[in-house]
Each structure stands twice: as structure tokens, then as C-alpha cells.
């Protein structure tokens, strides 16, 4: 099994390095093919490992070599394939295989074709390190590695100002969270003496609660950055500047879920601190609603999907925070499939529309892009959580968890959000595929994507539909590692009322969205309608003015303070005082050199003056000595 582990881990690295060899050369189709092949081999290995785990083959654990060893610190490159990591590996390799294949078509005309595959495979490698590591330090390697790849890929079109800006924003925001994570690692190390998962978690129950709480808080701060939780969420929407396959892979399916993975992985830790868990859940619920609300009015197709991702991440955190780790992981998996599908579909639309992102400028695309239409609709259905699609099983479960745990406020929020989700998803679908063919006004001739791209997407479509049926198998598998709490609503009546009620609510939202946006009277908004001028709309459209606030109260002051530090403090105070001391010495020399007038008379006068001065001092001292024998002590008291 170790062989498969190594293949799963290193095939993406090989793929990345191989593609990197051709970064400076023009597009080579085979880089894409080879890269896809290698990623698929990683997928196959992951499947083998999954089967191995499912058959009760036990955890696969390898220690490749020592990484750092000093003092009492010992960090190996250790990798583990257990029930949790194999789930993540499946998600990662599956989605990335699809995205690789898809990208061969999507990036067809791009100059940086080879480079793209190099980055993309590097990302897969980092992600695999992240999920497979058997210790926190290794997780951190992957953690930072995906951050780097995300930076590279968001800024892939580096000639675009907005893309590079977004890339830097994402990297820096993540760094803020990484600091929290790092502090969490330090705490773990100094209190348990190790960074290995098993040993560290084994030691935690004996630690005092305050420390465990701090560890939990700092680790969660780390998770907040990667999973773009409030208030570190702004980068995710901006990250949509990257190529769409990147958004599908990184900013929907894998990297942003790393935070959830971290919390799930640290379940023994978070089990000890339910109050932190509650905070996580509350923040998750807030983010779910908050993000969904912004998605309601947005006019950028990719951003809408990004906000939806954010909202779903909130769901996952609710589950994880309430201790239903397996539920969180399940939703993570299901979400990965339909969200990636949604993004890839959006990619098709963008391709067809020549990178147009405003759905109001589309409409009626269902005719030229039939397959894409079907896929996106089904993905949206799954996202909305309609039975029997994947979203129903995973998302409703989270609602149930909140209900069973008696967090009714959370439950209400999540339920309401589910309605919003359905609305904005179908608002998007309706605007893009239904109604008048508004794109004609802009002289665009849309066409369907390559066939192999669509075929490539099909596994995702399949999984988006059927993933829910794996629930029990999955449950049995992961609960070997995670707390096996089943969330059943005891009263059958309540259960049915809730389920059907939810379905109805969601269904109504969908209908309302269709009614409002699928009709032929939709035009491209020009900022004159009443709704567009309402306060709520403006606030939502401007993302609650948060990016603006950050710009005004963090970015600008930082820049100004930097300049002040440099120009005022460094140059005018620190450096000037150094030069000032030198200047004083030099200036004193310059001023007093007049003493050397060159005139003999003056020189003689100086000499006499010196003697007379000494003489008068002598007289003073002599008199003093005569009248006080203490003078010596006084003078020696001066420290001479």
C-alpha cells in the first residue's frame, strides 16, 4: 500500500516538475496530457487506498525522512492514510483530475498553457501533503504550499492589475491566519512536546483547559484564513480573477475546505473545548447567511458562486463546531463535487461569452449550450439541497444537527440561508440560460465547449447526483476515527415536517427566482431602477462596504504609516540623529578651529591663559585643601 501512497503523493509533484520544464516554451499539448495522466494515476492510487481502508486494511503510515530535528523537537516527513485523509484524498484527486482534463480544453489558447499545468499540479501536490501529513508541521507545509499555488494561479494572468492584486490579497490574508496557526503549533509543541497528531492529541486531555482553549482558538484562526471565514473572507471573491478551473479546484472544492479539514482532523482537541466549538458554529452560521446575502444581488457570475462557496463553508463549520465532524466532512465532499461542477459550467459559459461575467448580459443560453445548461442546473439543484441530490443528504443533515443539539437560532439561520441559496443559485441559472438572448446585443456567438471537456465533467455530475447514497458506507468508515454521533430527530412527525418543510421552502425559493429572472423583460441594469437605489441593495452590492473599510482603515493607513516610518522616523529621526552626532563633532571642530588664528600673539595668550587657568584652579584647590581636609574625598567622590 505504501507504493500507492507514494504514487498518490508524488505523481502530482512529478507532473508539476515535468510541466515546469516547458514553461518557457510555447504550448505543448502533451504537457496537459501527461499532467492529467499523472493526476489520474494519483486518483487511481487513492481509490486503491480507499478500497484498502474500506476493507479494513488499517491505516497506512509511512515516515519518509526527518525534516527538522533540534533540541526536543522532532518533525519527520510522515504521511498517513486513514479514514479521514483518504476521504480528502479522494475529493482532491477526483476534482483535480477532472479539472486537469477540463483545463486542457479551457486553457487551449492560452500562452501559459504549460505553466498552468505546472502550477495546477503543484497545487495538487501541496494539497496532498496537507491532507496526508501525520503531523501539524507537515500540514503547515501543505497549508503554505496551497497558499503559494493559489497566489500563482490567481495571478496567473499577471499582466492584469486586478489579478495580481487579488493574488497578493489572498496570500497576505492567508498569512494573517497562518500566523494564528503557527502560534497554535507553538502552543502544541511547548505543551505536549510533539507535533505528531496522535501523540499530541493523546496528551491534550491532561492539559489544563485554558491552554487547550488557546490552542483551539489559534488553530481555528488558521482555519479561518484558508476557509475565508469572516472577517478574512474578502480575498475569496477577489480570487475569482484566476482562470475558472482554478476557481473550481482551489476556491471551491479543495483549498478553501482545508480549514474544515483542520478542524475535523483536530476533533480530539475541539471535543475538549465545546465553547470554542460553539463559537465556530456561530461564526459558521453567520458566514453562511452573510455570504448568501451578498450573492443575492451580485452581478458577477463567478463571484456569486464564490459567495455560495463561502456560505457552504459556513455550513461545514456549523457542523464541525457542533462536534458533528463526520457531517462536516461529508458536506465538504458533496459540496466539492457539485460546486466544482458549477464552476466548470461557469467556465464553459465564460468561454462561450468571451470572458463576459455579468449574467444580465447573457440569457437564453440554454439553446446553444445544452449540456452546460443541464449540468449547471443539476449542480444548482444539488446545491439547493433538493432530494435526492447530494446536497440534500449533506446539507439537511447539518440542519438536523443544529436542531438535535438544540441550537435553534443556528437552525433558523441555516434554514433561511438554505432558501437564499436556492434563490441566488437559480437566479443565476435563470439569468444565464433562460429568458431573452440578451448576449446578441453584444455581438457574441456562443458555442458549446469541447466534448472532452464535457465528458471530463461528467464524473462530477454523476457524483453530484448520487453522492448522497454513499452516506452510510462513508459514515461507517470515518467514524472509525471521528466521533460516531448519529443525529436523529426522535419524533418521526417532527422529522417529516422539517424535511418536507425545508424542501417546500427551497422549492418556493427556486420558483420565485425563476419567476423573477427567467422572464423576457429582464434587461441589463443601468443603476436607475428603484431596487438598485435602495439602501439594502447598495449595501449588499458593495459587500457590506467591507472591502472599502479594509481599504480605508487597513491598507491605506498601513501604506501611509510605512511612508511615515521611512521618511519621518527612519530618515529624519534615527538616521538624522546619527548624522547629527557626527555633525556636532565636525561642527565643533569647524567652529573652534578659529582658536588657531595663526597669530603668534594669540598663541602666546593661549599658553598664558592656560597656565593662569591652571593656577587659579590650583589656588582654589589649595585654599580648599587648607580649610578642609575633606577635599580629597570630595574630588575622588566625583569618580575621577
Amino acid at each position: 500500500m505504501e507504493l500507492y501512497l507514494y504514487i498518490a503523493l508524488f505523481a502530482p509533484l512529478v507532473s508539476s516538475l515535468f510541466s515546469a520544464l516547458f514553461t518557457a516554451t510555447p504550448k505543448k499539448m502533451f504537457t496537459g496530457v501527461v499532467a492529467s495522466g499523472l493526476i489520474i494515476s494519483a486518483l487511481v492510487s487513492s481509490i486503491v487506498l480507499l478500497v484498502h481502508i474500506l476493507n479494513g486494511g488499517g491505516v497506512v503510515h509511512v515516515e519518509l525522512m526527518t525534516w527538522m530535528e533540534t533540541g526536543d523537537l522532532y518533525i519527520p516527513f510522515g504521511f498517513v492514510v486513514d479514514e479521514v485523509s483518504v476521504t480528502m484524498m479522494m475529493v482532491v484527486t477526483l476534482v483535480s483530475s477532472v479539472v486537469h482534463v477540463y483545463s486542457v480544453g479551457y486553457m487551449d489558447h492560452d500562452k501559459g498553457f504549460n505553466r498552468f499545468f505546472s502550477y495546477l499540479s503543484a497545487f495538487v501536490f501541496s494539497m496532498m501533503v496537507l491532507v496526508m501529513s501525520d503531523n501539524f508541521a507537515g500540514l503547515f507545509i501543505g497549508w503554505e504550499g496551497v497558499g503559494l499555488c493559489s497566489w500563482l494561479l490567481i495571478g496567473f494572468w499577471y499582466h492584469k492589475e486586478s489579478a495580481t492584486w487579488a493574488a497578493n490579497e489572498a496570500f497576505i490574508m492567508n498569512r494573517i491566519a497562518d500566523l494564528g496557526m503557527l502560534i497554535g503549533l507553538f502552543l502544541i509543541y511547548w505543551h505536549t512536546g510533539t507535533l505528531q497528531y496522535t501523540e499530541a492529541f493523546a496528551a491534550m486531555p491532561s492539559l489544563n483547559t485554558e491552554i487547550v482553549t488557546w490552542i483551539g482558538i489559534f488553530l481555528f484562526i488558521g482555519a479561518m484564513g484558508k476557509s475565508a471565514q469572516f472577517p478574512l473572507h474578502t480575498w475569496l471573491a477577489d480570487a475569482m480573477e484566476g482562470p475558472t478551473p482554478v476557481s473550481a479546484l482551489i476556491h471551491a472544492a479543495t483549498m478553501v475546505t482545508a480549514g474544515v479539514y483542520l478542524v475535523v482532523r483536530s476533533s480530539p482537541l475541539f471535543d475538549l473545548i465545546p465553547h470554542v466549538g460553539l463559537f465556530i458554529a456561530s461564526l459558521g452560521a453567520f458566514v453562511a447567511l452573510f455570504a448568501a446575502s451578498m450573492a443575492l444581488v451580485n452581478r458577477d457570475m463567478k463571484r456569486i458562486i464564490a459567495y455560495s462557496t463561502l456560505s457552504q463553508l459556513g455550513y461545514m463549520f456549523v457542523a464541525a463546531g457542533l462536534g458533528a465532524y463526520w457531517v462536516a466532512l461529508f458536506h465538504l465532499m458533496a459540496h466539492a463535487f457539485f460546486k466544482a461542477l458549477l464552476f466548470l459550467g461557469a467556465g464553459n459559459v465564460m468561454h462561450a461569452m468571451h470572458d463576459e461575467l455579468d449574467p444580465f448580459k447573457m440569457g437564453g443560453l440554454k439553446k446553444p449550450m445544452k449540456w452546460t445548461f443541464i449540468m449547471m442546473t443539476l449542480a444548482s439543484v444539488a446545491l439547493a439541497g433538493i432530494y435526492p441530490f447530494a446536497g440534500f443528504f449533506s446539507k439537511d443533515l447539518i440542519l438536523e444537527v443544529a436542531f438535535v443539539e438544540h441550537h435553534f437560532i443556528l437552525y433558523t439561520v441555516l434554514l433561511f440561508t438554505a432558501g437564499l441559496t436556492a434563490f441566488y443559485s437559480f437566479r443565476l441559472v435563470a439569468l444565464i440560460f433562460h429568458g431573452e438572448e440578451r448576449y446578441k446585443l453584444f455581438g457574441v456567438h456562443p458555442h458549446e465547449a469541447y466534448k472532452f471537456m464535457l465528458i471530463g465533467m461528467s464524473p462530477l455530475l454523476l457524483l453530484a447526483i448520487i453522492a448522497g447514497s454513499f452516506k452510510m458506507t462513508y459514515f461507517e468508515m470515518v467514524t472509525a476515527l471521528l466521533p460516531a454521533t448519529e443525529y436523529h430527530i426522535h419524533s418521526h412527525l417532527t422529522f417529516w415536517i422539517m424535511t418536507i418543510g425545508t424542501q417546500l421552502f427551497v422549492g418556493l425559493s427556486i420558483l420565485y427566482a425563476y419567476k423573477k429572472y427567467a422572464n423576457s423583460s429582464i434587461t441589463v441594469p443601468n443603476g436607475t431602477s428603484k431596487m438598485e437605489n435602495s439602501f439594502v441593495y447598495k449595501m449588499l452590492f458593495n459587500q457590506y462596504y467591507i472591502p472599502y473599510l479594509y481599504q480605508e482603515y487597513f491598507v491605506k493607513p498601513y501604506r501611509e504609516l510605512s511612508t511615515v516610518f521611512w521618511e519621518q522616523v527612519d530618515m529624519k529621526i534615527v538616521d538624522a540623529s546619527v548624522d547629527g552626532i557626527a555633525g556636532i563633532v565636525y561642527g565643533t571642530g569647524e567652529k573652534t578651529r578659529a582658536m588657531q588664528s595663526g597669530n603668534l600673539s594669540t598663541m602666546l595668550k593661549w599658553m598664558v591663559a592656560g597656565t593662569v587657568g591652571l593656577l587659579s584652579l590650583a589656588v582654589v584647590f589649595g585654599l580648599a585643601a587648607r580649610y578642609s581636609g575633606e577635599i580629597k574625598t570630595i574630588l575622588s567622590g566625583l569618580g575621577v
Partner: protein
């Protein structure tokens, strides 16, 4: 009133002060040399007086050496003075300040 050691010393001190003032005030090189002679000779008076007071010859020996040295000083000094006068036509101290700073 008998003239005692202190009178000699006082005379010496007065002469020395006169010499010092002369050294500081004179702008003429020749007069400056005279002032230094006064300084040295004021010391000589004191030496002789103290020597007498102690009944010891050392002080007088010192005075003789001072006289001898004063003489050679004058020789060198006048030599320099003459050369300066030859080249510049004056013996004014204020002309003697080409080097400064």
C-alpha cells in the same frame, strides 16, 4: 627694614608678571624677546635669593645655567629675527600668520 627672602621673591613675581604681560602684549618681535629675557631673569633673582636663604649653591648653579641658556636663546632668536627682517622688512608679529586653522 631688612630686605628678606620674601622681598626678593616678590620682586621676582612682579618681574615675572611684567614679563608675562610683555609676552602677551608686544607685537614687535624684538620686544617680545626682551620680555622673555625678563621672565628668565626674574626666575634667576628668585633662584639666587633662595639659594642664599638655604645656604646651598644649587640654586645659583641653576641661575648660571639659565643665564647661559638665555644667552644662546638670544643668539638663535636674533638670528631668526634678522632673517625674517631681511625677507619681509619688518618684525611685526601680525604679519606672521600665513598658517592658520
Amino acid at each position: 627694614m631688612e630686605i628678606g627672602l620674601n622681598h626678593y621673591l616678590a620682586l621676582s613675581a612682579i618681574l615675572f608678571s611684567i614679563g608675562l604681560v610683555g609676552v602677551m602684549r608686544r607685537k614687535n618681535l624684538l620686544l617680545l624677546f626682551l620680555a622673555t629675557e625678563i621672565l628668565l631673569n626674574s626666575v634667576n633673582i628668585a633662584f639666587a635669593a633662595i639659594s642664599h636663604y638655604y645656604g646651598d649653591l644649587t640654586g645659583q648653579m641653576f641661575a648660571f645655567f639659565v643665564i647661559a641658556i638665555a644667552a644662546s636663546e638670544v643668539a638663535v632668536g636674533l638670528g631668526l629675527l634678522i632673517v625674517w627682517h631681511k625677507r619681509h622688512g619688518n618684525i611685526d608679529l601680525d604679519t606672521m600668520s600665513t598658517m592658520r586653522g
